[in-house]
């Protein structure tokens, strides 16, 4: 769920764009360096962006009986690292705004801050912490995807609360209202997205082990002894 066009006042839209800009510019610089050193990676980066967009079109069975769509930024942060996801996530948000009418142009900065900056960094932090505490790849991926999803929506609730404070209880009351409404759908979705991540990476460890080793997610398999 992204903030729709026109929903934020102009000052907030500009403020969130300025807040997201350093992260997106940093990601763009990394991509420019990567493409300059290895031009062949342009296509891999484009494929990563397309995968993130398409992942949001995967329907997940919801515990409430309906279906939901993952944000996909947690998986992207684990696979491609948060700085690159800041740029790819922003590109995906632009495409979602212009191809699916999901989000907006003046709210692109706010949505990018929530989904392309806070989500991937929180998810990647949860992944690193889980691995450091001795968890394997799959528990790490579950933590990354669930936390990235939750962090995205907590940030969105905060952005809406700042823009639309409650008449009696102010920003804090508005935050409680928005987070409560989002929790109905987002807490089950975060768990569902974590489960999807586990199933996705379980298949990848079998079918795409060399790629995961190249990305540093799995230790190289030992050479078979003769």
């Amino acid at each position: 769920m992204h903030i729709a066009e026109g929903f934020l006042p102009a000052t907030h839209a500009i403020g969130w764009t300025l807040a997201a800009a350093p992260f997106v510019v940093h990601g763009a610089r990394q991509v420019v360096t990567e493409v300059r050193e290895r031009p062949e990676n342009t296509l891999l980066l484009g494929a990563a962006g397309a995968f993130t967009f398409v992942l949001s079109a995967v329907k997940l069975p919801s515990f409430t009986g309906s279906s939901s769509h993952p944000t996909g930024t947690g998986a992207g942060a684990v696979l491609f690292r948060p700085p690159v996801m800041a740029l790819l996530g922003t590109i995906v948000l632009l495409f979602q705004a212009l191809l699916l009418a999901h989000g907006g142009l003046t709210t692109l900065g706010a949505n990018a801050f929530a989904m392309a900056v806070v989500g991937p960094w929180s998810g990647y932090g949860a992944y690193r912490l889980t691995r450091r505490l001795g968890g394997g790849l799959l528990p790490g991926v579950f933590a990354a995807m669930a936390v990235a999803d939750l962090a995205t929506y907590v940030t969105t609730a905060g952005q809406l609360a700042l823009a639309l404070p409650d008449a009696e209880t102010g920003v804090a009351g508005a935050f409680v209202k928005f987070i409560s409404v989002f929790a109905l759908t987002q807490v089950p979705l975060a768990v569902a997205e974590g489960l999807l991540g586990v199933l996705l990476f379980r298949v990848l460890t079998v079918n795409a082990r060399p790629e995961l080793e190249r990305l540093g997610l799995l230790a190289p398999a030992p050479e078979p002894t003769r």
């Binding site: 992204h2 903030i3 729709a4 066009e5 026109g6 929903f7 839209a13 763009a28 991509v31 420019v32 493409v35 300059r36 031009p39 062949e40 342009t42 296509l43 891999l44 484009g46 494929a47 990563a48 962006g49 397309a50 995968f51 398409v54 992942l55 079109a57 995967v58 329907k59 069975p61 998986a75 740029l87 790819l88 590109i91 495409f95 705004a97 212009l98 191809l99 699916l100 009418a101 907006g104 142009l105 003046t106 639309l164 008449a167 009696e168 209880t169 009351g173 508005a174 409680v176 209202k177 928005f178 409404v181 489960l195 999807l196 199933l199 996705l200 298949v203 990848l204 079918n207 795409a208």
Partner: protein, 244 residues
Amino acid sequence: MTGLAVDDAAWASAWRRRSPADKLLLCGGLVVCALALPAWPGSVLVGLTALALALGPARVPARTFGRAVRWPLAFIAVGALTSVVTVGTDGLGWAPDAAARAGSLAGHALAGSAAVLLLATTTPMSDLLPALRGLRVPAAVVEVAAVTYRLLFVLLASLHTIREAQTARMGYSSTGRGYRSSGALAAAVLTRSWDRARRMQEGLAGRGMETGLRVLPEVLPSSRAFVAGTVAGLSALVTVGLLA
């Protein structure tokens, strides 16, 4: 047909051959008016203008426009309703100016969404991406975005084909099977995207194109009449929106 209704509408639009810069001026102006003018009558006029232009001269199918607006409509309804419910010591209640506040919020958001949809349903992404170069976005970033745009239709087609096959094999007949199928589906799409990218790179390298995908930009000249009409129309909207 690409599989995305808004993109299909953009390629089929009567405004497809118009300059992207002209359409950006019009739609950007409408978006700014939707945000800055008072909801009544400013945002209402902006929304009606965007709708009339899309369904009239741009010949966007009403069904496509209506279906596309469902996403923002759901968010706007939930967001506007939540913002006017107050949480106090007596429990839940309505804010004193609930109707005016919700109306203003919904007015700005609906008008802005209609203006963005006017751009989206008349201008294919491949026309808009070169315009990013004019905003000093690095060429490498625009190229990654262009590859993303071209690949996502291939991956969406793969997604639908695999999902259809999984459904035919009872892959979504229970919640547990649905999760397993969704995981396998995402993994298959990711490995296919890597495989596609690798094969495309090998194909381009074999043709000596190792420094990127260079294509001839399509030249769509600007129309003075369209620009003059846009400036006059936006000026009229601002005048009526502020004076009424």
